[in-house]
Amino acid sequence: MTEFQTSRTIVGSTGISPRIAKDATPVQRARSIKGTMTKTMTESLPTLPKVRTGIEGLDEITGGGLPAGRPTLVAGNAGSGKTMLAVEFLVRGATQFGEPGVFMMFEESAAELAANVRSLGFDLEELAAQKKIALDYVHIERNEIEETGEYDLEGLFIRLGHAIDSIGAKRVVLDTLEALFAGLSNHGILRSELRRLFRWMKDRGLTAIITGEKGEGNAVTRYGLEEYVADCVIVLDQRIQDQLSTRRLRVLKYRGTAHGMNEYPFLIGAHGFSVLPITSLLLDHQVSTQRIPTGVARLDEMLGGLGYFRGSSVLVSGSPGTGKTSLAAKFIETACQRGERALFFAYEESSAQIVRNMLSVGIDLERWIKKGLLQIHSSRPTLQGHEQHLVTMHDAVRAFRPTVVAVDPVTNLFLAHNDAEVKPTLMRLIDFLKKEQITALFVGLTTSGDATSAPDDSQLGVSSLMDTWLLLRNVEFNGERNRTIFVHKSRGMAHSNQVREFVLGDQGIDLVDVYLGGDRVLTGSARVTQEAQERAAATLRGQDHERKLRQLASKRKAIEAQIAALQAEAEAETEEVHFAIAQETLQVTATHLDAAAMSQQRRVTTGTNGEAKENP
């Protein structure tokens, strides 16, 4: 009992989120109080003590794990994964939580079981050697046994007790008890003994998993084991849909605690069991205000100048050949250039093909693969069910720990399937990535590539999960097809409403302003032609202006020359006038002189008078 108490408190302090505590109903509280004797329990009163299974997703659905110190029934059809769940519960308990466990099997031998689970990476024999796990195969052969009167299953109790004591087990698995019903004909004894067994395990504080074959119709188990295991019942199921099988898990009943009620797909992968809770029940992931560039400067500008938010999900959708993959690759490359790790999930092209193709637009992915910053996972979407793909992605992300993930194309992967299942699956992926603060870029293929039509309906369904949606379109005009891009939506940032032309060249991706002149939007060569025409016209205009100016200048010069000439003429005239005046003055002077001389002369002749008479 003391052992039991301590284990309960440990679990109570570590395994349960305070959320459940708040949600606990009065009934639960009453139950907890009733079940407590000591102070330690009253302190952790609000919640039912739980034991973490360590199984991915299961602890989230159950709000912390299985009920501590109580048996849990795991029911399902043959091959639904009951044994795997049970084995993982024990192995994780032994390796991660320091709780050794006993695996008592009734259907296959210890060696067979060990061989079966080795593929999940569990080495039961090694764990058994380390005394972390005890394996006991109970062999019952009905025709070897003769019943001769009253008996009990004390032999089983002793075996189990011995196995538990030998390793100090806290966990027990009984797989599957129903073999007892086939092996022993007196079911009356069997039932009373099973009741005693569960009571005995509870008293010892053992957290147990009992597996049971699914019964016919609505019965949980064939022999009604649920009657004894009243605390927690988990039902496993395997269904085939569209030739793809999906395993599902549901917590049918969990006394005294809130739990996820839905069916959750689960997988048995290379790392064991994993349940995929739709959203881990809460929408409470951290958000970042950090921005990361898209890799295309002009696109960053369109997204408020800084690019995407870290940890956001981005949808790049468009019809075939619009450059979606290139945009994704550029984003990946940019992340690698910053020294961050990136994962590329490709469902259309092989890794080598992507590397080659991206080289043509100047994106060298090979370099980053070699540096170990980039991983490309290529597979066919039809290879597995989408849940399986999801788990593959989970595993890859967990193993590589990237900060950036691209999925190309997400449509092929999910949208080909039943629509109703797509959204939860994608939601799970997005939620997971968001929780890990991974920026995800999803490439979506729209079937209607028409430039004018509205985006595909299915895309709209998915788009509500996206934070940023970039739409790439082909615009056909004037005998050629050009790519345009615009930001359809971008949560939490100012973004451009403009359509840009998306140009793929040897040097990479660039965005160019489209020609928005008059009543037309022009792209590609039409834009180039238009621009050239405008340039030519501008040049012509410029030349015209210059000519006019030149003409004006020369006219001015001519006028100036005329002015100079006139001035010169005037000067010449002035000089002429001056000269004439001077000449006339001179003449006048000379005349005066002559007159004087004459008069002088004349005065001489008049004076003598005889001279004239003398001369003639």
Partner: protein, 120 residues
């Protein structure tokens, strides 16, 4: 005549085999758990059967599993009490308080041989 003779030798062989079998020592082991009334009853009942039907040619061992718990695993004991007939082969198991002696006798091969029609 010839067929009759052959039949006679066959019967002789059978009878000899049965005699040999009957003469062999029967090795039995009874596993009980503690000193419960059921255990005590089983021990009493099997001793009685042995003394009555296998006087002098039985080897009965009673094992208390609560003293030797590891035997429960190695001997594949589930129910208690369990009686295992080790010899003569084939090995057989009986569970219960051994109160249904007819079934035990049948299982031990002490009854029913006479019921084989050809020997009737």
């Amino acid at each position: 005549m010839k067929a009759n003779a052959a039949r006679l030798t066959e019967t002789d062989a059978m009878a000899a085999a049965v005699a040999a079998r009957d003469a062999a020592v029967c090795v039995l082991r009874l596993y009980v758990t503690g000193s419960s009334p059921r255990s005590a009853r089983a021990i009493f009942n099997i001793r009685k059967i042995c003394d009555e039907h296998l006087p002098g040619r039985h080897d009965l061992e009673v094992v208390d599993l609560s003293q030797h718990p590891m035997l429960a695993k190695s001997e594949q004991i589930l129910a208690a009490p369990t009686l295992i007939k080790i010899l003569p082969l084939p090995a057989r198991r009986f569970v219960g308080d051994m109160s249904q002696s007819e079934r035990i006798l049948q299982g031990l091969g002490l009854r029913g041989a006479s019921k084989i029609p050809c020997l009737a």
